[in-house]
Symmetry: C2
Subunit: 146 residues, 2 copies
Amino acid sequence: MNTDLDEVEAFLHRQIPITVAMGIHLVSYDTESLVLSAPLALNHNHLGTGFAGSLNALATLAGYALLWLELRERPCHVVLRNSSISFRRPVTCDPRAICRRPEASEVEAFHDQFAQKGKARLHLHVTIQEHGALAVAFEGTFVALK
Amino acid sequence: MNTDLDEVEAFLHRQIPITVAMGIHLVSYDTESLVLSAPLALNHNHLGTGFAGSLNALATLAGYALLWLELRERPCHVVLRNSSISFRRPVTCDPRAICRRPEASEVEAFHDQFAQKGKARLHLHVTIQEHGALAVAFEGTFVALK
């Protein structure tokens, strides 16, 4: 499992250059969720708190990474079709984006659709918490294309 | 006017470190719109097209920059409350985010509210076009706080 994580992190750094400048780190991935972090020192705004653009990029990358790990056996492209984000409170520590794995039935339907049509979409929810409180809520529709 | 643009670009680079890595450049600002660009070479994804996270950050920064220029006489903070974005087609050239200045009546209401309450919100629309076609549509609610 750790080799997978290292590979995905290296893939992000190699293929999406801004992830190096952001200091993106793939923390964990299990049946529940995927966690991606980045240091605040590289991703703050003019107020010293998490920059909205960086927090959005971190959440987007958490969704990508979850889908890549989900589809690792299948040659495909993953793209983001649309997303929305709500900033509830300032992020003052190193942000950790948690992408919740959807219900098993949703993931199964996604795999079935991909196998049948060579294209499937999945709606993913990502949150950034701080001291147990919700700081950022992101959701996006990702599309996998054969 | 150019001094203002240079100042805002320098402010972005100094205060929001990821904007340096993104190569953010403030192209123009007039009564119609503000234009912010970034090289694709620094902001591409695993497919060689514009990375969704970078495009979102570019659009967010265009909104910030327009509000900073709008409020330059007044000491205040600007934050993004929420935003949504739709990716219509891949971005294959250096992206240019165009933040449309809202109607004069909206801007006036925003200034009045800020003067009265020390807090005001403005909804901004940002687009990224390519070869005359809409590639990315972003909208966000920004809040200025005294």
